[in-house]
């Protein structure tokens, strides 16, 4: 019974958090959309979709106030492209977030070089791993390999996930899922509203 109560409490807290997040997201997203639309008049479907998605991503990322690393990853990714700078600036606010974004880029370089080194040694490690895989151990070896493969996929999915170790990836994925949910809910509601309006 206590577990149920705890679950309920945490759910309420989560809902409160997500409501706040939704509000911030809407505000920032609207800002971003206004900026996008004011810049160019004619866009085809693809461009429009990209702009919308971009503004939504930046909005949700900045709504997090750079507390999570996936949000930082999104913003640093966006700032790489010069066109998006104005969008990012206006949505995020002209703070020192860009400095941080640039820092992230350099750390990315360091980690990629580390990854290359790891790969060289990784082969050697794999050879070592394969030897003690007897029949009784085989199941655990396979299980570990499965989990490892999936964590790799997850790392690719979550923005900025490749730079983190598996434990942080899970944490980030948690947060990212929450924010994606917020995005989707807001978008859906907006769609419903606009259809009912017209």
């Amino acid at each position: 019974m206590n577990l149920c109560q705890q679950n309920a409490n945490s759910k309420e807290a989560k809902m409160h958090n997500s409501c706040q997040l939704e509000k911030e997201f809407i505000n920032k997203w609207v800002q971003g959309l206004q900026i996008c639309n004011s810049s160019s008049k004619k866009m085809n479907l693809l461009e429009r979709k990209k702009k919308i998605k971009l503004s939504a991503d930046i909005a949700i990322a900045s709504a997090k106030n750079l507390t999570t690393s996936w949000s930082k990853a999104i913003i640093s990714e966006a700032t790489k492209d010069e066109q998006n700078m104005t969008l990012v600036k206006n949505v995020c606010g002209p703070e020192s977030k860009f400095m941080y974004a640039h820092q992230k880029v350099t750390s990315h370089k360091r980690t990629t070089s580390k990854k290359i080194l790891k790969k060289c040694y990784g082969v050697h490690r794999k050879m070592k791993k394969m030897e003690p895989c007897r029949g009784s151990n085989l199941a655990t070896c396979i299980a570990k390999r499965l989990v490892k493969k999936r964590t790799q996929v997850l790392k690719r999915l979550v923005p900025g996930g490749e730079l983190m170790d598996e434990y942080s990836v899970i944490k980030e994925a948690l947060d990212y899922i929450l924010s994606l949910k917020v995005q989707v809910d807001v978008m859906k509601n907006l769609v419903n509203v606009t259809t009912s309006l017209s």
Binding site: K148, L154, K188, L190, T195
Partner: protein, 385 residues
């Protein structure tokens, strides 16, 4: 039996990466679903979301439960708590535990007629082991069809040495069944002792740090379990699978929603004037992006999609998205195809209707229907990833 014990030791010994949850659950899977696959667990709790919630606290509460049997019993208890759906689980679990013995006995009873028939065969050619082999093969067949690979080894080993006389044969069969049953019953008790011994030794900081790390990961997975639907999997790999699918699905939803009329309408509602004009022109260019009129390709695509849908809804949707198509309820499709007054607006309505339709099924299950625009023009909304 030896192999199961050894494997458990090895599982416990694995200090690097993943967690006792994997080891516990492998062991549990073997024991509880011994004769069935692990589908039994997900079947039971797949139905009710609440059951999943209640059970979710369990598999990774490594703090509270120190030995395998306690985990076992608590899992059964949790299943019981979940009610009728859960009621099936302990019954099936108990059944699966007893079945190794039961099978032995049924194997015996099933084989006795064979023994009677084959007695004559035994008595005449004493050196003829073929009939004995048939007996054993039959027994092995009945056992192996239901059991995990570990148990499969047991009959094979005991059958390796058949006796020459009929009495010896029957004794062997009995012994094999007893050992199979004993293996099932003994395995939970013996590894339990070994687990305790192992854990008592875990006082050095390295393993403590490892355990801490594993517990943190387990905590996170627990929290994720509450977020992700269908998160009744006890296995870390399948949990990760669910998480990955869910993230992909949400990202796809965002993409589709941003493709819809949303942007144009939102901009129009918020910043009237120039933006609206831009939005309208954007919308009108929607329908004429691409057209595919070939019926053959549509059939091939349909078959592909059906095949994919059987495996996994998410991959089917991705496939469709790659082709620039979507799924739609038939009623909506007919409604749209008959609508002739506002072709552009009707096309734009599709994503909305579909999103609303898919929503009803459950907010987070990847059964979102996007749509097939099978309108008279054969226009399809193309999206280049």
């Amino acid at each position: 039996m030896q192999e199961s014990q050894m494997s458990l030791q090895d599982l416990q010994n694995n200090t690097d990466s993943f967690d006792p949850t994997v080891t516990n659950d492998d062991f549990l899977d073997q024991m509880l679903s011994g004769l069935q696959t692990t589908v039994s667990w997900s079947d039971v709790s797949g139905g009710d979301g609440d059951g999943g919630q209640n059970k979710s606290t369990l598999p990774w509460d490594v703090d509270h439960f120190d030995d395998q049997s306690a985990i076992l019993s608590s899992k059964l208890r949790q299943h019981q708590i979940t009610g009728s759906a859960g009621g099936r689980a302990p019954a099936s679990a108990l059944k699966s535990l007893q079945l190794p013995r039961g099978l032995g006995s049924t194997g015996e009873s099933g084989l006795f007629p064979n023994d009677n028939i084959d007695d004559s065969n035994f008595k005449s050619p004493m050196g003829d082991n073929s009939s004995i082999q048939n007996l054993f093969h039959g027994f092995t067949g009945s056992l192996t069809s239901n059991q995990t690979p570990q148990f499969r080894h047991l009959p094979a080993q005991t059958f390796g040495s058949p006796g020459a006389a009929a009495a010896a044969v029957m004794n062997q069969v009995q012994a094999a069944s007893v050992s199979a049953g004993g293996g099932g019953g003994g395995a939970p008790s013996q590894p339990r002792q070994r687990v305790r011994a192992r854990r008592g030794q875990a006082t050095d900081p390295h393993s403590i740090a490892e355990r801490l790390r594993r517990e943190r990961i387990a905590e996170r997975m627990k929290a994720l379990q509450e977020l992700v639907p269908n998160a009744n999997k006890t296995d870390k790999a399948s949990m990760l699978d669910e998480i990955i699918d869910y993230v992909k699905f949400l990202q796809l939803q965002v993409k589709v929603l941003s493709m819809s009329r949303l942007g144009g309408a939102a901009a129009g509602a918020i910043a009237p004037g120039g933006a609206e004009g831009g939005g309208r022109t954007g919308r009108s260019s929607n329908g004429t992006v691409s057209s595919s009129n070939n019926n053959d390709t549509m059939m091939v695509t349909e078959n592909q999609v059906v095949k994919l849908m059987e495996e996994d809804m998410g991959s089917a949707m991705q496939y469709l998205q790659g082709k620039g198509l979507c799924l739609m309820p038939i009623s909506l499709a007919t409604a749209i195809s008959t609508a002739t007054c506002h072709p552009s607006s009707s096309r734009n309505n599709h994503p909305l209707g579909s999103a609303g339709g898919g929503e009803g099924g459950g907010p987070s299950s990847p059964n979102m229907s996007v749509l097939t625009v099978q309108s008279a023009n054969g226009v399809s909304v193309k999206d280049s990833p």
